[in-house]
Amino acid sequence: MSEDVLSVRNLHTHFRTEDGVVKSVRGVDLDIGPGEVVGLVGESGSGKSVTAHSIMRLIPSSGSIVQGEILFEGEDLARASVRQMQKVRGNRIAMIFQEPMTSLNPVLRIGDQVSDVLRLHRGLSKAQALSEAKDLLGRVGIPDPKARLANFPHELSGGQRQRVMIATALACRPKLIIADEPTTALDVTIQAQILDLLIDLKRDFGCSVLLITHDLGVISETADRVAVMYAGQIAEVAEVATLFDEPLHPYTLGLMRSVPKLDEDLPEDRLLPVIGGGVPNLAELPAGCAFQTRCPHVRARCRAEEPPLREVRTAHKVRCWLYDA
């Protein structure tokens, strides 16, 4: 376990709001090995983005990490100083966001936006950094990369902008890339291209990826392992094949049972299928299991005690009383 690139232990992130304290992340454990692609799935509001932002320490000032460790190459990011974090971000951990249309600064040139991390973290001169940015743009499949350096974001399509974001993320050869729904905002045809690109380059650059998505199809095609998140906790973690073949947690089972067929006309994008009932209010959670209000197998114990995340088979952990030996 010690050779994991990232090892999140019992992470709790809370927000102070007018409705009380919103417990968005409640004890997340997550390990990512070298070169591994770990998928993080869960419905909207389950805390995927807050987990990612916690790792990057980019939580808005109304929120904070109240407990837990974020061990990255042996260093606890949860306790790192602002200075230390600035050296990690964009350098050893890079992040790709959901909205390529708004992730680039509209008034700065593409070349400057790709190369600034190289100047910041690698201390390259402007000319060196631009020349490397040009190579990077070539590697992410942008035609005529030299000319693109002088372009502004509005001159590029959404797919090209996301390629630019990938080039920027790879620039400093990070150990870990966190991609928060990198393809959700793109056309279906372009989604596949961008994912393939991300996975190819991840192999070439030898980094690990935390891939956050709503889309079970994306997970099955790209991830090595999957963590299913529910109400701020990991409900189940397993190898991709295991999770799709023998899901254990009632929530995961629900998701799998209603995976939409690819040729069906889909509402919105390929979102997680809807399971009856709603996500519990993270400011006023009931005692016991967070899934109790929607679970077909709920029993008395589920309402009294919160189940722990336990390894019930090799490399397969579940948070549910059904598997309490």
């Binding site: 990057m56 980019l58 974090m85 600035q86 050296k87 990690v88 971000r89 964009g90 350098n91 890079a94 992040m95 966001f97 909205e99 708004t102 992730s103 680039l104 600064n105 509209p106 008034v107 700065l108 600034d116 991390v117 910041l120 973290h121 502004f152 509005h154 001159e155 974001m165 920027t168």
Partner: protein
């Protein structure tokens, strides 16, 4: 190069604008009661032959449109007529005073823009913090103070009581300084009017910058900039501010006529020998040609200032430039 094309295109747009301004002023003056002949022949009256000759000489017998056309051409060739009071060419009178006004306006505006933007960024950094609240109160006060009152308070405090700064004029005429001593003397005389105008204009710029920064800071590319490892300072000043300045520049451009009104008041309070004073004197003396000349000149000034604003906007925002 596209920036150059952008500037040239904007320059071409200013010609019809200027013609419109002159036309409006022409129509306003011609729809006012009385005509120039009455001024010349006075109360006593004159025979109709003389009146007819004068009318022909001055082109007043021509149709309105011809008169307008001639007037526009005359103005465009730089002839604004002659002052009734001093008989000097109006344009000469204006150009003689213009440098003093330009100096005052440019200094105070540079100062208010730089300080206002920095304070705005500072306030937006921690919204609703003690610093933000204090700056908000100060800025609200700053643009609700009447400028002549503020000017007189400055004179009272720093002129009379503390006796730190001169309270009138642009230089010490008795000493007759030249060269850099003169420049220093002018700078010394400028302190109170510049500070007064800066305080007055600072508040609005600061409020606009703050609001605009708060909006920009919530956008994705700012989050991306932090995720790249940039420091807060770089993110705010390099990535966010350039975007946040766009609405500030727009509103400041719209405020230019108000700026001139403020300058007129401040020049009067501080006896600054600029256009503001000239306008004030022209109104008191009913010097119509001079007033008309001033209107046209101010229109021209506003048009040029707006052109500058457009260029700055184009420099800041590539999306405008490349359209």
């Amino acid at each position: 190069m596209s920036l150059l094309i952008f500037v040239i295109r904007r320059l071409i747009y200013t010609v019809p604008l200027l013609v419109c301004a002159v036309t409006v002023i022409f129509i306003l003056v011609h729809s006012a009661p009385g005509n120039p002949i009455d001024y010349i022949i006075g109360e006593a009256g004159a025979d109709s032959e003389l009146v007819a000759r004068l009318r022909a000489e001055m082109g007043l017998d021509q149709p309105m449109l011809v008169q307008l056309w001639r007037y526009v051409l005359q103005v465009l060739s730089g002839n604004l007529g002659y002052s009734l009071v001093s008989s000097a060419p109006v344009l000469d009178l204006i150009l003689e005073r213009f440098p003093a006004t330009l100096l005052l306006m440019a200094s105070q505006y540079t100062l208010s823009a730089v300080i206002g933007v920095l304070l705005g960024v500072l306030a937006a950094r921690r919204p609703n913090s003690a610093l933000d609240t204090t700056l908000t109160l100060l800025s609200l006060t700053s643009f609700s103070l009447p400028i002549f009152w503020l000017g007189q308070m400055m004179i009272l405090a720093f002129g009379y009581h503390l006796d730190w700064f001169p309270i009138q004029g642009m230089s010490n005429l008795r000493e007759g300084y030249t060269g850099w001593r003169y420049a220093l003397d002018v700078a010394y005389h400028m302190v109170l009017p510049v500070v007064t105008l800066t305080i007055f204009n600072l508040g609005l710029i600061m409020r606009l910058t703050r609001a605009s920064m708060l909006q920009v800071v919530g956008q994705d590319f700012v989050k991306v900039a932090y995720a790249k490892g940039h420091s807060e300072r770089t993110v705010l000043l390099h990535h966010a501010l350039r975007n946040a300045l766009l609405p500030v520049v727009t509103v400041v451009g719209l405020e230019i006529p108000g700026l001139i009104a403020g300058a007129v008041l401040a020049e009067t309070v501080f006896a600054w020998p600029g256009l503001g004073r000239l306008t004030f004197d022209a109104i008191s003396a009913r010097d119509y040609p001079l007033l008309m000349g001033m209107f046209i000149f101010i229109s021209f000034f506003v048009i040029v200032a707006n052109l500058l604003v457009d260029i700055i906007y184009g420099l800041l925002d590539p999306r405008i430039r490349y359209q």
